[in-house]
């Protein structure tokens, strides 16, 4: 029970963090002229990898927590 709650909380936290990153990154790109995207894209990719990994982990955690519940 406790493990499920922690897993779910962690999953939501990771998902929220990844969503935050996606929101900030897309807002930044939307604001910049496309000609300047190559200047920030490499950095977005570097910081985006942990965010993407977090999102995958979050989905897995939430699924596991959900299947245990079911």
């Amino acid at each position: 029970m406790m493990r499920r709650v922690v897993g779910r909380a962690l999953g939501y936290l990771l998902l929220a963090t990844a969503s935050c990153w996606a929101a900030v990154a897309s807002a930044e790109l939307a604001r910049l002229s496309p000609v300047l995207w190559p200047l920030v894209l490499p950095w977005l990719v570097v910081t985006g990898l942990p965010a993407a990994a977090g999102a995958v982990t979050a989905t897995a955690l939430l699924r596991t927590a959900g299947s245990h519940q079911g």
């Binding site: 900030v24 930044e28 604001r31 910049l32 200047l39």
Partner: protein, 253 residues
């Protein structure tokens, strides 16, 4: 080139980025977008010379990583924009010290200067590693060397001779804009801006767009410029025309 000379102290990149939870250098990248927009719009607003304070000599005091990023951005700007600058009739010219900036940035700058040399619509001047006090000292040193070499009579040193040495006959700024709400000159064009109209915009530089420049120029055109005199009081545009006509007449002898 007989249009307006507008000089801008581009301030607020770091604060703009911090407000968005971004690292400071991302504010500098966003600032490049403002440069692009203002440069594109300036000629249509009657601006023939645009002087931007891109990197002050005091900026060396910033963390090395930020300084490195600023020069990286300068290099990228020169490389990516030189074609568009040329197409729009802009001539790029840098002023300030060249001996301390990274070689790759210096090379990109020189390449862009050569590439855009034929531009007649807008003179875009970038102050790089620039300090007004340093520039004044350099001009004074040059005059002193001429005196030492016997080519200049010390009695002939005047405001005009120092002015010519310092400005290389470029027009003085008519309007000096500083963004981000700060109200000081920060060692920028201290001599040249003696009669410039000052305009302080609360907008951070990455938010500054052509519309902001338009508002500043509209405000400038409403002001009266007396150049130290009392009367007749002439509006800015008329004063410019009068000065141009006088200069033409003097040149014609």
């Amino acid at each position: 080139m007989s249009g307006l000379h507008v000089a801008i102290i581009m301030d607020g990149n770091g604060r703009w980025a911090r407000r968005r939870g971004l690292p400071r250098w991302r504010g500098h990248v966003a600032g490049v977008d403002s440069v692009r927009d203002v440069v594109r719009g300036a000629p249509d607003l009657g601006v023939s010379t645009l002087t931007l304070y891109a990197f002050s000599s005091d900026n060396w005091k910033r963390p090395p990583t930020e300084v490195g990023r600023l020069f990286w951005l300068l290099r990228e700007y020169c490389r990516r924009e030189q074609r568009e600058l040329k197409e729009n009739g802009c001539r790029l010219e840098a002023f300030g010290r060249r001996d301390r900036i990274p070689k790759s940035a210096g090379a990109a700058l020189e390449e862009a200067e050569t590439f855009t040399a034929g531009g007649t619509r807008l003179l875009l001047r970038l102050g790089i590693d620039y300090s007004s006090r340093w520039a004044i000292a350099e001009a004074a040193r040059e005059l002193a060397q001429q005196v030492k070499a016997g080519t200049l009579d010390p009695d002939r040193i005047s405001v005009d001779s120092l002015h010519s040495q310092l400005t290389q006959h470029l027009p003085e700024p008519d309007l000096l804009i500083r963004t981000a709400g700060e109200q000081r000159l920060s060692d920028f064009l201290l001599w040249e801006a003696a009669y410039a109209e000052l305009y302080f915009s609360p907008a951070y530089w990455p938010d500054f767009r052509r519309s902001h420049l338009e508002a500043a120029i509209a405000e400038f055109r409403r002001r009266e410029r007396r150049f130290g005199g009392l009367a007749p009081v002439v509006p800015a545009a008329a004063a410019r025309e009068l000065l141009s006509a006088t200069a033409e007449a003097l040149r014609a002898g």
